[in-house]
């Protein structure tokens, strides 16, 4: 490691700003990371963590502020350049080629070459073995196919890739979100090993408990600004949560009075081919039921299986008291059930198409007698939803991909409203949505309940579940626990059931 006047500080960022059009993603971030420490970067969804990391990896250039690495101005032109400077990113979605071997993945793009351009197999093998040994992961063999590894081992392969390039700063973005408890402990050991060697780790996570276990210092971001930093050991969990939330929750979640009516949707022993394993619930009209749980617990699969997008193994779905099976999304839509996808860009919306098509695609009959679309009537119908939901756009003919995340999400919601479904399956309805639009999404959800719709909502953001839902249940490893009124839960109880399962077992 290079020495300097303050050799223990590795990375500094000060007054970093980044705007996208009119949206301020970062409005003044300060961050200081020391060599050999685990620095936790905390913040709610949309607080600016991802944008900050993209600045660090060179994917975004910054608009203002400065960045130094080892006291030298740091402005990478892209991820490859960042890695050359010794900064490696490990993303939530791992970037490995599954059909190549561990060794090929670790050295991808920087294979040791001989005179004729041939890969020097012995040298390559030695480097890979050394990197894996440095992680204490000797059991991963360099010639194993990555496709045969589990998520935990794949992550280690990614970290090995960073080590081969002598990374001095490794950024882990939500590293445990798809890991089992054992793999998580294994990862922590690796992180400790790395920091002993003087490598700095920026650890991004939602799980404050994890941060307390592994973190040395922390920085909290909120709405694109640094709002606090300190030593993990000297700060209480409550103080950190307060810094992250930073606002009066009552204003954040608009109160829309609604009342539960008759039971509309019932699941009895519902199970998919993989997940969920066992889910039973009953949902009333005018009621918002929240499903909490860890990523990978099977919450998304529950909604998707219910909507026929994943195979169902057993169990019964009752709508309005009658068993109501379905084979296609079209049948479910006709039964009055609609799904808001968690993957807005990949599945929820056809980004190349205009707002009008996206909003009305599931139900064009009202203005398409005989299959012939009356564009005037279609535009009028869409304009109604644009006004009602406050979608900021130039009109129904605007390309959906040109809208902001929040407005895209409103467009996806508008489709369910246009279809006038009775049961709304909402999967992470505010993911990737800015704060202002979040409040509006909450308001719409409340109004839907007030209008007698039944809402089943999956979210990984606990304050949102507590702020919006009437009842909550927790899914743990594919098994859905008992739903209870939201007043009877605490955040700690939800987290405990999410990580360890219900004490009494699912009823």
């Amino acid at each position: 490691m290079k020495g300097g006047p303050d050799s223990c500080v590795l990375l500094t960022m000060s007054g970093v700003e980044k705007r996208f059009g009119g949206v301020v993603a970062l409005g003044g971030v300060d961050l200081e990371v020391r060599a050999g420490e685990v620095h936790a970067l905390l913040g709610e969804n949309g607080a600016g963590k991802s944008t900050l990391m993209k600045v660090l990896s060179g994917a975004h250039a910054l608009d203002a502020g400065e960045c130094t690495l080892d006291g030298v101005p740091y402005a990478p032109s892209g991820p490859v350049d960042a890695l050359k400077c010794g900064v490696a990113m490990i993303y939530q979605e791992l970037n490995l080629a599954p059909e190549l071997s561990v060794g090929q993945n670790v050295l991808l793009g920087r294979e040791p070459r001989g005179k004729l351009g041939w890969i020097q197999a012995n040298e390559a093998r030695a480097r890979v073995t050394k990197a894996l040994a440095a992680l204490g992961a000797e059991e991963i063999r360099p010639d194993t196919m990555v496709s045969s590894l589990g998520p935990g081992q794949r992550q280690l392969v990614e970290i090995a890739r960073a080590l081969v390039e002598d990374a001095r700063l490794i950024v882990l973005d939500e590293p445990t979100s798809s890991l089992s408890a054992e793999d998580t402990q294994r990862l922590f050991e690796v992180v400790r090993r790395l920091t002993r060697e003087g490598v700095a780790v920026i650890y991004i996570s939602h799980f404050i408990e994890e941060v307390q276990e592994i973190g040395d210092r922390f920085t909290v971001l909120r709405d694109g600004e640094t709002v606090g930093t300190g030593e993990v050991a000297e700060t209480s969990l409550d103080d950190i949560v307060a810094l992250m939330a930073g606002r009066n929750l009552d204003e954040f979640f608009p109160e829309v009075p609604h009342e539960a009516g008759e039971v509309l949707l019932e699941l009895v022993g519902f199970a998919g081919e993989g997940l969920p394993k066992d889910a039973s619930l009953s949902l009333r009209r005018g009621e918002i039921l929240g499903v909490a749980g860890l990523v990978g617990a099977g919450r998304t699969e529950l909604l998707r299986a219910l909507f026929t997008l994943e195979p169902v193994r057993s169990g019964e779905v009752r709508i309005g008291g009658r068993p109501t099976p379905a084979r296609t999304p079209r049948e479910r839509l006709n039964q009055g059930v609609g799904l808001l996808s968690e993957d807005r860009k990949g599945e929820g919306l056809a980004l190349e198409l205009d707002l009008a098509t996206n909003t009305t695609l599931s139900n064009m009959t009202p203005f398409a007698p005989g299959g012939w679309i009356r564009t005037g009537a279609q535009a009028a119908a869409v304009q109604k939803w644009i006004d009602r939901l406050g979608i900021r756009c130039t009109g129904p003919e605007q390309r959906t991909g040109d809208l902001s995340g929040g407005n895209q999400q409103k467009a996806a919601l508008a489709r369910l409203l246009h279809h006038d479904v009775d049961v709304l399956l909402l999967d992470e309805p505010t993911r990737g949505v800015d704060v202002g639009a979040k409040v509006e999404v909450y308001r719409v959800i409340g109004e839907l309940a007030a209008a007698g719709k039944a809402i089943l909502m999956v979210s990984s953001y606990l304050p949102e579940l507590f702020g919006v839902c009437d009842r909550l249940c927790v899914m743990h490893r594919g098994v859905l626990g008992q739903a209870r009124p939201v007043e009877e839960w605490t955040e700690e109880e939800v987290m405990s059931e999410a990580t360890r399962g219900a004490k009494e077992g699912a009823a």
């Binding site: 999304p329 079209r330 190349e352 198409l353 695609l361 599931s362 398409a368």
Partner: protein, 310 residues
């Protein structure tokens, strides 16, 4: 609307440029007689491009259309040879194309094989069946029988072949832009998962799209027979690439979700005008091939640059 208009400016400018260039080099290029020749030469690729536009907009590809044209020309000729009425012969030719398309669609959806492979297979199968039915020879019906159909391909302003193509292009442009089926086609190509989520009958729509493309290939085969007065199992080899080129020059994206019938028609006209102009001015065939190849790449490059700037 202006953006959609902009997308068509490139192909139109290309067409104008080609027409102006050859008009200046060789005044007879602009004679009515020659322009009608260009039009009649556009008919077969143009008809294929109508069907192909639906397939490409939906995110698929149909490599079998050249073979389907040959098969349909053979079927039409065989029917005429057997003494069936011209109407029946035409219907049989179009139906043969439709059947190939339906099989393509069925294989793509039921076996979930990518369209490239399914239609590559059909390219061989349809060509083989055409040779089988015709015993590997050209099928020559009696002059009375072929004359009745040859009227389709006359080089006059009243040529039915040209008018049928124009009418069908207009009709199918409306189907693509203004019907639920057309919207589903765009939705499939733009994001198939979204289409599924919205309850679009993905499989059924795809089968119809490939069947439609087959029907237009079949009609192209009928027109081929009308021009040649024989059913030739070795005709239209490589025609599928001309058809795809016309659609791509017209602004469609092979990734799906983008394209228009008008654009594809301009693309087909541009290719025919270029071929005709090169022949008239005595430009060697190889120059023509280089030019068409360059135009395809340039058309897509222009499109890429435009979408990157957005």
């Amino acid at each position: 609307m202006p953006k959609k208009f902009m997308a068509l400016i490139g192909p139109f400018l290309g067409l104008l440029l080609v027409v102006a260039l050859f008009g200046a080099l060789e005044p007879s290029f602009l004679s009515t007689r020659n322009l009608m020749t260009v039009a009649i030469q556009t008919v077969i690729v143009g008809l294929g491009a109508i069907g192909m536009t639906f397939v490409i907009v939906s995110g698929g590809i149909d490599l079998s259309i050249g073979s389907v044209i040959a098969l349909s020309s053979v079927v039409t000729a065989l029917c005429a040879h057997a003494g069936l009425s011209p109407i029946t012969s035409v219907a049989a030719g179009v139906a043969a194309g439709g059947l190939c398309g339906a099989v393509n669609g069925w294989l793509v959806t039921r076996l979930s094989i990518v369209p490239f492979i399914v239609t590559l297979g059909m390219m061989g199968i349809a060509r083989g069946v055409a040779k089988w039915l015709s015993a590997e020879q050209t099928v020559t019906p009696s002059p009375e029988a072929s004359d009745a159909l040859a009227a389709f391909a006359t080089k006059t302003a009243t040529s039915p072949g040209i008018w049928i193509t124009i009418l069908l292009a207009v009709a199918m442009a409306l189907v693509l832009k203004r019907t639920v089926f057309g919207t589903y086609t765009y939705a499939l190509g733009s994001n198939e998962d979204t289409a599924r989520l919205c309850g679009v009958p993905v499989e059924r729509t795809k089968v119809w799209i490939y069947t439609l493309c087959g029907l237009f290939g079949g009609l192209g085969g009928v027109m081929t027979f009308a021009r040649l007065s024989v059913g030739d199992p070795t005709t239209a080899i490589g025609k599928e690439l001309d058809v795809i080129a016309a659609v791509v020059i017209g602004g469609a994206s092979l990734a799906g979700g983008k394209g228009s019938i008008l654009g594809s028609m301009v693309g087909a006209l541009l290719m025919a005008a270029l071929a005709n102009g090169c022949n008239l001015t005595g430009v060697p065939n190889f120059v023509q091939e280089i030019l068409i190849g360059s135009i395809i790449v340039a058309a897509v490059a222009v499109d890429r640059i435009r979408s990157r700037r957005r």
